[in-house]
C-alpha cells in the first residue's frame, strides 16, 4: 500500500466527502449531529448522514458559523451584514441585519435552561436570546476580532486592539473587565475553568491573562500567525496553530510561563493551519497547509492520520458533541466528515 493511500485510509473507509468548490470558512455540528460547512460563496452545506443539502444563507461570503444554541440547526454571519439562522431542513431566517458592516464572529452558549447567541459586528458585540430577541449591545474601543463564551455561559470575552474585554452576560451594568496588553489581538479562547483568557497576536505570539491573580502570560516563537487556538476538555493544554507542528502549552502547575510547549506532528516547512480539541478526551485534531488532517493523542503523542496531503490548506475543523465525528474543510473547497465510532 502506498503512503498516500494509508494516509487517506480513514477518509476513504469512514468518511463522507465532497468537493464544494468554494473556500470552507467553518465547520460545525448541531446538537442532532447534522454537520454544516460554511462557504465563501455564501452557502451552508448541510450533511445529514450521507445526504448533502445546499442552502443559500448569505449574499456574499459566510464569515462565521456556530451550532444554534436554541435548538437543531445553525447560526451564521456574513459579509452581507446579516446574522442568519438555518434549520436542518434548509429553511433560512434572518435574525438581524447590520447594513454594510460585516458579521465576522458568532458564538453560542446553551445549557438545559437557556440559550445565548452573540455576534461581533465592527466594534460591537450583540447578544440575543434563544428566540433571536436582542438582549443588549456591548461596545468596544476597536473592531472585535474574536469571541468566546466561558464554559458556563456566564461571561463572554472579546479580543480587540490593545487587549480583550470580559463581560458578564447577565449583568445589568455595562462595564467589562478590561484585559490590557498593547498590540493587535486577533483571536481569543477561555480555559474551561474560566481562569485563563488567551489571545493570538499580530506579532506571531500569544498573550494570556490569569484572572485570579492578574498574571500575564507570553507565549512566542511562532513562525506564522496563530489563527486557531483551543483548550483541551480538561484545560490542561492549549493547542494552537501557526507553527510547523501542533504547539501545546501546558496550563497546569502554574501555567505555561517558563515552560517549553509540547510539539506534536511536526512536519518541516508545513504550517499547522487549524486545531480543534476533542470534546471528551485529551486529544486534538489538526489540519495543515498541505491538506493533511490528523488526530493526536496528547499523552502518548500517537498520531492518527485522517486525510493525506493534496486537497488544499485546511481552513476548518469541528467535532460533533460526542466526539465521534470530525468535520474538516479546506481553502480550495474540499469537505468531509469522518466517523471514528466503533461499528
Amino acid at each position: 500500500m502506498s503512503q498516500a493511500a494509508s494516509a487517506d485510509h480513514l477518509l476513504e473507509t469512514r468518511g463522507v466527502q465532497r468537493t464544494l468548490g468554494a473556500f470552507v470558512v467553518a465547520a460545525a455540528f448541531d446538537r442532532t449531529g447534522t454537520a454544516a460547512f460554511a462557504l465563501g460563496d455564501g452557502s451552508l452545506q448541510l450533511l445529514h448522514g450521507s445526504e448533502w443539502r445546499s442552502v443559500a444563507a448569505h449574499d456574499g461570503a459566510v464569515l462565521a458559523l456556530t451550532a444554534d444554541p436554541a435548538g437543531p440547526g445553525f447560526v451564521s454571519g456574513g459579509d452581507d451584514g446579516r446574522l442568519m439562522r438555518t434549520a436542518r431542513d434548509g429553511t433560512v431566517a434572518e435574525i438581524a441585519r447590520f447594513g454594510m458592516k460585516w458579521v465576522e464572529h458568532v458564538a453560542g452558549f446553551a445549557d438545559g435552561k437557556s440559550a445565548v447567541l452573540a455576534c461581533a459586528v465592527g466594534k460591537q458585540v450583540h447578544l440575543f436570546d434563544g428566540a433571536g430577541v436582542a438582549l443588549k449591545t456591548l461596545a468596544h474601543p476597536s473592531t472585535v476580532s474574536g469571541l468566546a463564551f466561558d464554559a458556563r455561559g456566564k461571561r463572554i470575552a472579546a479580543s480587540h486592539y490593545n487587549g480583550a474585554s470580559l463581560w458578564f452576560v447577565a449583568s445589568k451594568s455595562d462595564n467589562p473587565r478590561l484585559l490590557e496588553w498593547k498590540g493587535s489581538h486577533t483571536a481569543i479562547a477561555i480555559s474551561p475553568d474560566g481562569d485563563s483568557v488567551v489571545t493570538a497576536m499580530q506579532e506571531n505570539a500569544l498573550h494570556g491573562w490569569r484572572l485570579s491573580d492578574g498574571q500575564h502570560m507570553r507565549m512566542s516563537g511562532y513562525p506564522g500567525k496563530t489563527r486557531s487556538l483551543s483548550f483541551t476538555r480538561s484545560g490542561k493544554w492549549l493547542a494552537t496553530s501557526g507553527a510547523e507542528s501542533i504547539v501545546l502549552w501546558p496550563f497546569t502547575g502554574g501555567g505555561p510561563m517558563g515552560k517549553a510547549p509540547t510539539e506534536l506532528a511536526g512536519a518541516a516547512e508545513v504550517i499547522c493551519t487549524a486545531v480543534a480539541c476533542h470534546p471528551q478526551m485529551e486529544a486534538v485534531a489538526a489540519g495543515f497547509a498541505d491538506g493533511v488532517v490528523l488526530v493526536a493523542d496528547i499523552a502518548s503523542g500517537r498520531l492518527l492520520p485522517v486525510a493525506g496531503p493534496g486537497r488544499g490548506p485546511v481552513s476548518a475543523l469541528g467535532w460533533s458533541a460526542d466526539g465521534a465525528r470530525l468535520a474538516f474543510g479546506t481553502e480550495t473547497g474540499f469537505a468531509a466528515v469522518v466517523d471514528f465510532s466503533r461499528t
Binding site: 468554494a22 473556500f23 470558512v25 473592531t143 499580530q202 500567525k225
Partner: protein
C-alpha cells in the same frame, strides 16, 4: 525590526505565485481633492472587471460598485521595536475576508480618508503575512487639488506625506489654476517626490491604464522612472519633505550596506518616508533592488544589468531633515575597497 534583507538569503521571486496575487491600489488625497470622483470614474470605465472597494464611513459621495466594504481606518502599532511601525488592522481583516469569496477579483481599491498618512497602509504590505502572500501593493495614487496644494502644504503634514508616498499623482482641478500656478505646483510636487508619475486632470479624467496595474511597488520597477539628479540644497535641515539621490561607481559590499542601512533606518526611520535603491553587488550580474517605508525594508535581485551599461549603484531618500553630507558619506562607504 523585520526585513533588512541579507543578500545571502534572497532568491528570485516565485513568478507563478506572484501572478496569483491580487493588485491593491491605494487612493489617497486631501479632503476635496476629488478622490471619490476619480474612484467612480475608475469603476465606471472598468466594464467587466471586478473590484472590491474599501471606503471609510466619512466618504462624501456614494460609490457605485457591487462590492463596497465600509471600514473604520484602524491604525495599529506593532510590538516589534519600531516606534513608527504601524499597520492598518482593518485591512488585514478585510483582505482575509475577501480572500474567502470565490472567483477572482481583478483588484482591490482602497480609498483613505483625507487626513490619512499613507505609511500604515504601505507598511501593512510589508508586515502581514496573509496580506503579503495574497495581495500586492500595486501603487499609491494621490489626488492633489492643483489650485489649493500650496495652502495644504503650508497647513498640514499629511498633504506632503501623501505626495511623498505616491507612485502616481493626479494633479486634479487643473481648469481652476493658471499655467503659472500649475508649473509651480508641479515643481513643488517634484521637489517632494521625484519618482511619481504626474497626470494633469480635470474632474479626474485620467485614463484608467495610468492608474491601475502600475506595478510600482515591484522591486523590478523600483527605479524605473529615473529621477533627475537635483543638486538643490535649499531644503535641507528643515521640516519640509524633500528627496535626495546618490550614485556611486564602485560595487556595493552587501554586508556593509546592510549594516549601514539597518542602522540608518533604525535611527532615522521616522524621518525617512521612502527609500529606494538599485545596487551593484561584486561579481553579481543581476541588480539588487531595495525599498523601504520608514523602517520596513524589502529587497531582492531583479533583472540583469544592461550589457555594456555602467553598473552604478544609486539610492534615493524621501523624507524630513535629511542630512545630505552624512547620507552621501554613508552610501559611499558601502562601496568595496579600491
Amino acid at each position: 525590526m523585520s526585513g533588512v534583507p541579507r543578500a545571502s538569503e534572497t532568491a528570485m521571486p516565485d513568478t507563478a505565485a506572484k501572478t496569483d496575487q491580487i493588485p491593491v491600489t491605494v487612493l489617497t488625497g486631501y479632503l476635496g481633492a476629488g478622490k471619490t470622483t476619480l474612484l467612480n470614474r475608475i469603476l465606471t470605465e472598468q466594464h467587466g472587471r471586478k473590484y472590491a472597494v474599501v471606503i471609510n464611513e466619512f466618504g462624501e459621495l456614494g460609490v457605485d460598485n457591487d462590492l463596497v466594504v465600509d471600514s473604520d481606518e484602524e491604525v495599529f502599532e506593532m510590538n516589534n521595536g519600531c516606534i513608527c511601525c504601524t499597520v492598518r488592522g482593518d485591512l488585514i481583516r478585510i483582505v482575509g475576508g475577501l480572500m474567502k469569496r470565490p472567483g477572482r477579483f481583478d483588484g482591490i481599491i482602497i480609498e483613505t480618508t483625507g487626513l490619512a498618512n499613507p505609511a500604515p497602509v504601505a507598511q501593512t504590505f510589508f508586515v502581514d503575512e496573509t496580506v503579503r502572500t495574497r495581495t500586492r501593493l500595486d501603487a499609491i495614487v494621490t489626488v492633489v487639488d492643483a489650485k489649493n496644494l500650496p495652502a495644504r502644504l503650508a497647513d498640514s503634514h499629511e498633504a506632503a506625506d501623501q505626495i511623498a508616498f505616491a507612485d502616481v499623482i493626479v494633479l486634479n482641478k487643473t481648469d481652476l489654476a493658471s499655467a503659472e500656478e500649475l508649473a509651480e505646483v508641479e515643481r513643488r510636487v517634484r521637489e517632494i517626490n521625484p519618482f511619481a508619475t504626474i497626470h494633469r486632470a480635470t474632474r479626474g479624467d485620467v485614463p484608467v491604464t495610468a492608474l491601475l496595474d502600475q506595478g510600482a511597488f515591484d522591486l523590478e520597477r523600483v527605479l524605473a522612472h529615473t529621477p533627475d539628479f537635483l543638486d538643490d540644497d535649499a531644503h535641507e535641515h528643515n521640516e519640509d519633505v524633500a528627496s535626495m539621490s546618490f550614485e556611486v561607481t564602485r560595487p556595493i559590499d552587501p554586508e556593509r550596506f546592510n549594516a549601514w542601512i539597518g542602522a540608518l533606518l533604525a535611527a532615522e526611520g521616522q524621518n525617512l518616508l521612502r527609500t529606494k535603491g538599485i545596487l551593484a553587488y561584486p561579481g553579481e550580474d543581476r541588480r539588487f533592488a531595495f525599498q523601504a517605508v520608514h523602517m520596513m525594508a524589502d529587497g531582492d535581485f531583479v533583472g540583469p544589468w544592461k550589457e555594456g551599461a555602467p553598473r552604478h549603484s544609486r539610492i534615493v531618500f524621501i523624507g524630513r531633515n535629511l542630512n545630505r553630507p552624512q547620507l552621501r558619506r554613508g552610501f559611499e562607504s558601502c562601496q568595496v575597497k579600491e
